[in-house]
Subunit: 695 residues, 2 copies
């Protein structure tokens, strides 16, 4: 390691990684496929060979959790390599893991998670203050294992690492679609791999109450269609998470988003019953009767039960999106509002928040809530989870309140990974805070809302994109190179597969369902070609573009449900177009590749015809398929102009851009992603464009 | 159904299915993707719509097993369609399942498995004598569900069906590599889907004793590396199998293949101990001491325990491949042989077989054994499982013995599906038997030996090919159209995925491991292009071509472990070449497709170079990759001669064939499968060839 160099401020490491990824001689310096990138890293020389003799020794503080972590590490190493690696003791272990002292019995926010990892040709060592850091080091090691010309190996390297933020979480909504326990488990495995340390379990919604309550059993028996987690299963998942250095923060959303509570306990509601489990999506009227002491007595007992079940110090009470209609319609509540001089429904909710917070505090826990629970004057141990935006987070911090950012990290909105990656909890309005105020921003949570997500495709909606958010929350702020991020994400995605995550395998299988079992390989290939370059509509437009009102029973079997949220093929095509244009359209190799790709797209609509006639699920994307062909034809015409070296006529451009504009309108809730790059091509070959100008 | 037509003798249905598969107007007559094809089938008009209102009613005899079958059916229907279909009662059920009477408490060989299934636009009905038939009918229904232009549907059809053979099994060797219970379960699901009714569980081998014995615990504690099934798990799997109409026949192989027994109980062996679990593959010397009464006392107690655990009437005692070396080397055994006037070691084994058979009979069961246990004069209730060939089966039947065929159904040998499919239990030597003698042939079993198979790739070594063997054992003998079989196999393969079988998903994942997580999509695509057209060496040549002696610890992570045993791409390429040549090389569209495919192969070696330099697992296939390029170049040259319309010179042909001959030699234990088709192309364009002659 004598010839290594220290790189501080990992923007530079990102750059180094990118260089390696782009160069053909990547063999000389192993590419480090780390996500998240560590706080500091020094490359050494040589590498540590990984074979079936690999062994691990624990020194210093040991505990069952570390033994489990090592067993898990060896199992994952075996999966990644297919080597028969078994737990064995050795007087010369390949990897030594030294831990100084214990971590807390119940994991706490802000515990020391730092570690150092040094790998040399003759062995490796992890040193950490606590088991949390040791476990992070093991995950870093796994990401470093590469296939080399001589076998599996990990490059010589010295890493000193610690997280930027102490709260790095993923929220999963299990209310709108039930997500079975084994799927949650493999997603926790994924969180461990990318060093996230909070699983926020959104357990109640209008569409389902998912946790067993022994005190109020009608909550789960009548509120869940039988799809809930028993307390035994919940304890099991909590232990599973703790083993992986992950806290579980439960959320029971109130006073709104609570229809499912009222199916069994209509007396809690502000409007007359009876209630049924909600089957549609949106914001609904039912809300708790905040004027009734019976409500608070119920909640006191309920919170008492749940705070015993969930050991974490934080307890999430939701608090979002109360539309106030039931309150407005209830004379008793209006009376209450008047008598208390509450000017608005927000003030009513503030009253409720204060009451529920007192209950939570009484049971020894601290409240987390969505933006709405932040009302000036609430006690300081509350944590605000911002879904509305960075401003509210900054505002809260300015007043001394802790916060975590989720706005910008909503995985269901279909943003590109790059867009999520650019969102920083302390940028924007928070950048003007004092350092002390900035420290009140504890981190962030990505959110997986599941209106259009179910057990079949949830992994693909979370991964690998969530790994980029994990990096944002762990790595130094200046780690921001997008190309490096995508290259490393590609690698970590392959690694996540060995954890059993199905974010890649679900896709061809869903396409085969769409095509029907009798579809030929050629037909399937045509469907795949189209599916590979479309993305679901973004943000909240899926409801708006639906032909029939979607419900929880709507099958998620369409092309829009099958395709990944981000098209890798379209992204790479866009990069190639940029490269071509930046060469003033002189890069012949790029031109040939563009032409081959565009020709395949142009011809694809004809290839897809048999399936369109055969399957209603393919027929649905008829217009999208035609759009891809038309788009490709426009791109080919642009290439032709480019090849001729003259500028394309202005009226041709106008005509093409009109076509592209039509194509950019979503059809079947799908966007044809190469449209932007082809627009660029068209504009490049007219007078004044990058290509025509240079002729 | 008035306009339907009856087709008896399903060779014709096979033909009809083929016609539909090939034609572009397949919409008019739905293609029936049934595997196995039923005994008789009448197409009707119209189809039954499948939506979330789908319901099933059981009438006649009902039992818990039928309820489970319906729940399983609905779950699978939901998976295939992604529709929310829940178990519900309806006064107008979509599908009625009527069962006349119960089947046996312990499933028996030869129970009535027949059923009729009629589907019309307004509903469907299954009628069966027993739950076994009803369950088969449900599986047939699932295979009929197709995606249609208007939604999911099942075509109107009337099917009368029953099996040709009563014993239709799959054997899995769990000794050489342990196969976890959940993987066995999903393979039982696969057996149910293709109407196989026996799971032959090969539980002991030199390399592992896999069943818990409470009487002799050192069998599993010392003989399994801790990898065994508890009796509770075994009972669980038996119940799981029974629920699916599948018998479980356990095999404890003796007196050979028994090293793992001797680790804990060396006193059973014929040679001096101590013994260790065998790590290599092959036939080994250790064999039981057949002269010691202690051996028979042990086996009596052991068989007593296991026959209680396994309820099936049949108990498999193995009996194969005793090399006799330990017997030859043991003076006491030689003495015994002399005193009993046994001329050969075969006679010694016959003595052992007789003794063990009496023990099994005493415990109320009948013996199944491999060829070797068949010695003239053994009692008639024995079943001979023929691994050596059809002759031994015919010979046994001629003498009044029952038999099942496994020779020709060894899934590990890497044969094409077509080759397995052509093997018929009553063809060849058995064709000359009288009808009564032929009836002694009970059916067959495919065999999955796992020297080069583990939990990761076992599904792909069994499926979808096993479905063709299932068809051979179920459908009428004249169902033999290979093209129809492949088309239907492709469809049933997609359906099997919904059972959780990983025979498709494991493959890209293993290729990503081979390439390394950092490989780019282009590099992966180059690896896939090569991998898609190679197959592992066939029969028993893998040992012969190994560079180092393989053991149970040898990682199965190479290209040879990753690729499917049969290349679909090469098979389709071969079909296209045949089509092209049969047009006297005039089919321009075929020529264009061949040229595109060959160009891609020719250029692939260059594309794969970066990975070859990067990964030892890709570097290993360097010669194979060059071979594919050379082969493609030869094919392109042949196409060029064809296009010119003149015959290629004879010396060119000689040169090309010499190149191809070199390419046909396996390298890295891989065969380049398009070699045969390209040889045909070369021969077609020289004087006297199909193409040159017509010029």
């Amino acid at each position: 390691m004598g010839i290594g160099r220290w790189i501080q401020g990992l923007g530079m490491v990102g750059f180094a990684v990118l260089l390696c990824a782009a160069g053909a001689s990547a063999q000389e310096q192993p590419r480090l496929n780390l996500v998240p990138l560590p706080a500091s890293l020094q490359s050494g020389s040589g590498s540590l060979r990984i074979d079936s003799s690999f062994s691990v020794a624990l020194t210093g503080r040991t505990e069952a959790r570390l033994d489990h972590a090592v067993q898990r590490f060896l199992r994952q190493l075996s999966r990644q390599t297919a080597l028969s690696i078994s737990a064995k003791t050795s007087n010369k272990p390949t990897l030594t893991v030294h831990t100084d002292h214990a971590s807390k019995e119940v994991q706490e926010l802000g515990e020391d998670e730092s570690y150092t990892l040094s790998i040399a040709a003759d062995g490796a060592k992890i040193e950490a203050s606590t088991p949390l850091g040791a476990m992070h080091g093991l995950q870093t090691f796994l990401q470093l294992v590469e296939v080399s010309p001589d076998g599996f190996a990990a490059p010589a390297v010295t890493i000193q690492d610690k997280p930027r933020f102490p709260w790095r979480g993923l929220m999963i909504d299990v209310g709108r679609h039930f997500i079975p326990l084994d799927i949650l488990k493999r997603n926790l495995d994924g969180l461990e791999a990318v060093k996230m340390n909070v699983f926020h379990w959104h357990l109640s919604e209008d569409q389902g109450f998912r946790a067993e309550s022994k005190k109020f059993p009608k909550l789960h028996t009548l509120g869940s269609d039988g799809l809930y987690y028993t307390q035994e299963e919940i304890r099991d998942l909590i232990a599973y998470a703790r083993d992986r250095g992950i806290r579980i923060v439960p959320e029971f959303d109130m006073p709104g988003h609570s229809t499912a509570w009222f199916v069994g306990y209509p007396e809690l509601a502000s409007g007359p019953g009876p209630y049924a489990i909600e089957r549609k999506w949106g914001v609904f009227d039912p809300a708790m009767d905040l004027t009734s002491e019976k409500t608070y007595k119920f909640l006191d007992e309920f919170v008492g039960e749940m705070t015993k079940l969930f050991p974490d110090y934080y307890f999430h009470i939701g608090g979002d999106e109360v539309n106030g209609k039931q309150w407005d319609a209830n004379p008793k509540i209006q009376e209450f509002r008047k008598s208390h001089n509450f000017a608005t429904n927000e003030a009513l909710q503030a009253y409720f928040s204060e009451r529920i917070q007192k209950i939570v505090t009484k049971h020894g826990k601290a409240v987390v809530g969505w933006d709405e629970v932040f009302i000036p004057g609430v006690p300081k141990d509350i944590v605000i989870q911002s879904w509305r935006g960075q401003e509210s987070l900054a505002k809260a911090a300015a007043q001394g309140y802790h916060g975590i950012l989720s706005n910008g990290y909503y995985l269901d909105l279909g943003w590109s990974t790059a867009r999520h990656y650019a969102v920083d909890p302390t940028s924007g309005p928070a950048a003007n805070l004092t350092p002390e105020q900035q420290r009140l921003i504890l981190g962030g949570e990505s959110c997986m809302w599941v209106e259009y997500v179910n057990a079949e495709n949830i992994d693909s909606r979370i991964w690998p994109r969530n790994a980029a958010i994990a990096e944002r929350l762990w790595s130094p702020q200046n780690v921001a190179d997008v190309a490096s991020m995508y290259a490393r994400l590609h690698a970590v995605s392959a690694q996540l597969e060995w954890l059993g995550l199905t974010h890649r395998t679900y896709y061809p299988q869903m396409l085969r369902r769409i095509a029907g079992p009798g579809a030929s390989p050629d037909e399937l290939s045509a469907l795949r070609t189209l599916a590979d370059v479309v993305e679901p509509v973004k943000d909240y437009t899926r409801e708006a573009t639906a032909t029939a009102e979607p419900t929880s029973a709507t099958p998620l079997n369409r092309v829009v449900d099958a395709v990944p949220l981000e098209s890798d093929v379209a992204r790479r095509f866009g990069e190639l177009v940029d490269k071509f244009i930046s060469s003033s359209c002189h890069d012949a190799e790029a031109a040939a590749r563009l032409r081959a790709q565009l020709s395949a797209w142009r011809d694809n609509d004809a290839r897809l015809q048999p399936l369109m006639q055969h399957s209603f699920l393919v027929k649905e994307v008829t217009a999208t398929s035609q759009d891809l062909s038309s788009l490709a034809a426009a791109g080919l015409a642009a290439l032709d102009f480019g090849a001729k070296g003259g500028a394309a006529p202005e009226d041709w451009k106008t005509q093409q851009l009109a076509v592209i504009e039509q194509i950019e309108k979503p059809k079947s809730q799908l966007l044809v992603m190469p449209a932007l790059a082809i627009r660029k091509l068209v504009e490049a070959v007219v007078a004044g464009g990058s290509c025509a100008a240079s002729k």
